[in-house]
C-alpha cells in the first residue's frame, strides 16, 4: 500500500475495522476462545486496578482523583455552612439521627460528564440522562449507607440559661448550624464503568476531607471558623462501601432459539464492552469494622442471564478476592 503498511489480502481487514463495523461479533470472537481473553487483554473477572491521588485540589475541603484504566474521575468536596435559623423546615425533635442528613439534604452530589470526557458526551451540554442517574445513584448510596456521622456535620453551641428557664438546669447544647457538603464529581476521561470509579473517588475525597473548627459567636451572632489547621478535624467515615459492576455479554436473542446461547460475565467493563452488553449488574458491598459483610445495593437490569445463583457466586468470589481488601 501507498502508506507503507503491509497490504492485507483481499477479503480480510484489520481488527480495529472489525471492532468498529461489528462490535458484537468482535467481542464474541474473543470470548469464545477456550481461554476467553477480552479484547482489552484482561481476564473475564479481572478488574482494572484504580490509582488514587488524594488531596489534589487545594481550594476544596477534600478531593481525590481516581484513575481506573482509561477512566479518570476527579471528586472535590466543598463544605458550606447552613444556619439552622435559615431552615424552612427545621427537623422535628423526634427525627432519627440517621434520617437527619436526608431530611436536611446536606449531602449534595453532582456528576458532570459534559467535559469532553468521551465522544458520547458533548462538552458544554446540560447533564444527560446518564449523568443525572449517576448523581441519583451516588446520592441514594450516600443516604442508605449512613457512612457519615450526622454529629460531624453539626455546629453546636452551649447556650447559657436565661431567666425564664429553670434555674437548676445546666447550659443547653443547641445546633446552630450544619455543614453542607457539596460533592462535585467530574469525569476527565470516561472509558466505561463510571459508577464504580465515581463512587471510589467520592470515598477517597471523603477520607481526605477536613472541616475547620467552627463555633457560634454569641456577640456577632454568626458562625466563626478557626483558620488554624491544627484545630480542623477530618471527616470520620463509619465504613467504606465498595461498588463493583459487571457487564454481561450474551449471544441469546429472541430471533434464535435459546438453547445454544452462551453468556459471559465481564468484570469492570470498559467503554467498548459497555456499548455491546445490554445487561449490567452493580453490587455495593460493605464490611463493618467487626468483619460482618453485607450488601447495600443490588442493581441489575437489561437481560435475563443473571440468576440468583450467579449473584451468590459473584458475592462469594468477591468476599474472598483480594481486590476488595486492596480497595478498602
Amino acid at each position: 500500500m501507498a502508506n507503507g503498511t503491509t497490504a492485507s489480502s483481499g477479503l480480510s481487514f484489520p481488527r480495529e475495522t472489525f471492532a468498529k463495523l461489528t462490535p458484537g461479533p468482535y467481542l464474541h470472537a474473543h470470548l469464545k476462545q477456550p481461554s476467553s481473553i477480552r479484547p482489552n487483554g484482561r481476564q473475564l473477572d479481572e478488574h482494572r486496578i484504580p490509582t488514587v491521588n488524594a488531596g489534589s485540589l487545594t481550594h476544596s475541603n477534600g478531593s481525590a482523583v481516581v484513575r481506573c484504566g482509561d477512566t479518570a474521575i476527579v471528586c472535590g468536596v466543598r463544605a458550606e455552612i447552613l444556619l439552622a435559623s435559615d431552615l424552612p423546615h427545621p427537623p422535628p425533635d423526634d427525627l432519627d439521627d440517621d434520617d437527619l442528613v436526608e431530611h436536611l439534604g446536606i449531602l449534595v452530589p453532582n456528576v458532570e460528564l459534559s467535559t469532553g470526557c468521551s465522544p458520547a458526551h458533548l462538552p458544554g451540554n446540560p447533564p444527560g440522562p446518564l449523568a443525572q442517574s449517576l448523581t441519583y445513584r451516588i446520592l441514594a448510596l450516600l443516604h442508605s449507607s449512613d457512612i457519615i456521622d450526622p454529629n460531624d456535620l453539626r455546629i453546636k453551641h452551649l447556650e447559657a440559661n436565661t431567666d425564664e428557664d429553670l434555674p437548676d438546669e445546666g447550659p443547653r447544647q443547641v445546633t446552630k448550624a450544619y455543614w453542607v457538603l457539596y460533592i462535585d464529581i467530574l469525569a476527565i476521561a470516561l472509558d466505561g464503568n463510571a459508577i464504580d470509579t465515581a463512587w471510589t473517588a467520592t470515598m477517597a475525597a471523603f477520607q481526605n476531607t477536613i472541616l475547620p473548627k467552627a463555633h457560634w459567636d454569641q456577640d456577632r451572632e454568626m458562625i466563626v471558623c478557626s483558620p488554624r489547621l491544627a484545630e480542623a478535624t477530618g471527616l470520620r467515615l463509619r465504613d467504606m462501601p465498595v461498588a463493583s459492576t459487571s457487564a454481561i455479554f450474551t449471544t441469546a436473542s429472541p430471533l434464535k432459539s435459546g438453547d445454544q446461547a452462551e453468556s459471559w460475565v465481564l468484570a469492570d467493563p470498559d467503554g467498548f464492552e459497555e456499548d455491546v452488553c445490554a445487561e449490567t449488574l452493580t453490587v455495593v458491598l460493605v464490611s463493618r469494622r467487626d468483619g460482618t459483610k453485607s450488601l447495600l445495593r443490588v442493581e441489575k437490569s437489561g437481560g435475563a442471564v443473571v440468576t440468583t445463583d450467579l449473584l451468590a457466586r459473584y458475592y462469594q468470589y468477591w468476599v474472598t478476592s483480594e481486590a476488595h481488601s486492596a480497595l478498602a
Binding site: 446518564l130 441519583y136 445513584r137 442508605s144 445490554a278 450488601l295 441489575k300 437490569s301
Partner: protein
C-alpha cells in the same frame, strides 16, 4: 391483597393501564410503533422511550434514573427486532404515593420501580406491542429476618431492606433492584419468594402448577392472568354477539 389492574383507561393512547397497590397508583400509556427522530433511530430495532412523571412537580435525576432502569427492562421484554427504525413510547404518571412521613427516599424509590414496571408492562400488552413473554415485578421487604411481600406503608417504614425483582414467565430474572442493608442469603430468600408469587400471578388455571416452584404454599391467585384474560375476552366479545 393482589394489585388491581385496569386496562385501557385512556382512549386516545394505543394502550394504557392503571396499576394500584397499597402504596402507589400509576397510570401508564404506551404508544407504538411510532415514527422516531433521526437522532434516536436504530437501524435494526425499535427505540424505547420511557417518561416518568412524579406525583407532583417535574422530574429530576431520580426520574431519569427510573426511566433508565425501566427502559432497559422493557428492552429485554419487547421484541424490538420486529419494529426496526421505530419508537415505542411509554409514559408513566404516578397518581398516588404514600405520604413522606419518615420514609427513606431510597426505599420508596425501589418500591415505586416495582409499580412502574408492572404498569408499563400492562400498557404495552394493551397497546398490542409484540412482547417476548409475560412478566411480573414483585416487591418485598425484609425486616428482622422476616419477608413481607407486597408491603404497605407500615411494613416499608421500619424495613431493613427493600427488593424489587422482575420475573419473566420462564422464571428468568429480568430486573433486580435492592436497597438497604442485607446479606446475600436474605436477598436470595426474598428473590425466591417473589419468584414463587410471580409464577403464581401468571399461572394457568387449567394446568396443574407443576412448573411452579415445588413446595410453594399459599399460592396467590393468578391476578395478572385473570386481568389480561378478561381484557382478551372483552376484546373478542363482538364475535359472539355478531
Amino acid at each position: 391483597m393482589p394489585p388491581t389492574l385496569t386496562l385501557h383507561p385512556l382512549h386516545r393512547a394505543d394502550g394504557s393501564a392503571t396499576h394500584t397497590t397499597p402504596l402507589f397508583t400509576i397510570l401508564a400509556a404506551a404508544n407504538g410503533p411510532l415514527e422516531v427522530s433521526r437522532r434516536d433511530e436504530l437501524p435494526e430495532e425499535a427505540a424505547i422511550e420511557v417518561n416518568v412523571r412524579p406525583c407532583s412537580g417535574v422530574g429530576g435525576p431520580r426520574e431519569r434514573w427510573m426511566e433508565g432502569v425501566i427502559t432497559s427492562l422493557l428492552k429485554s421484554l419487547v421484541l424490538v427486532n420486529m419494529y426496526p427504525r421505530t419508537l415505542v413510547q411509554v409514559t408513566l404518571q404516578v397518581t398516588k404515593e404514600p405520604g413522606m412521613g419518615g420514609l427513606k427516599r431510597a426505599v420508596k424509590d425501589v418500591a415505586l420501580l416495582a409499580g412502574l414496571g408492572n404498569a408499563a408492562f400492562a400498557a404495552l400488552v394493551d397497546a398490542g406491542v409484540a412482547l417476548g413473554g409475560t412478566m411480573v415485578v414483585g416487591l418485598g421487604v425484609a425486616r428482622e429476618g422476616e419477608v413481607v411481600v407486597e408491603p404497605g406503608e407500615k411494613e416499608l417504614l421500619g424495613c431493613g431492606s427493600v427488593h424489587a425483582v422482575a420475573w419473566g414467565m420462564r422464571g428468568e430474572m429480568l430486573m433486580a433492584e435492592s436497597a438497604g442493608r442485607f446479606g446475600v442469603e436474605e436477598w436470595e430468600g426474598v428473590a425466591g419468594r417473589l419468584r414463587g408469587d410471580a409464577m403464581g400471578a401468571i399461572k394457568n388455571d387449567e394446568e396443574d402448577g407443576d412448573d411452579v416452584m415445588d413446595g410453594e404454599v399459599g399460592q396467590k391467585e393468578p391476578w395478572l392472568r385473570q386481568a389480561l384474560g378478561e381484557s382478551v375476552r372483552d376484546a373478542g366479545a363482538w364475535r359472539e354477539t355478531g
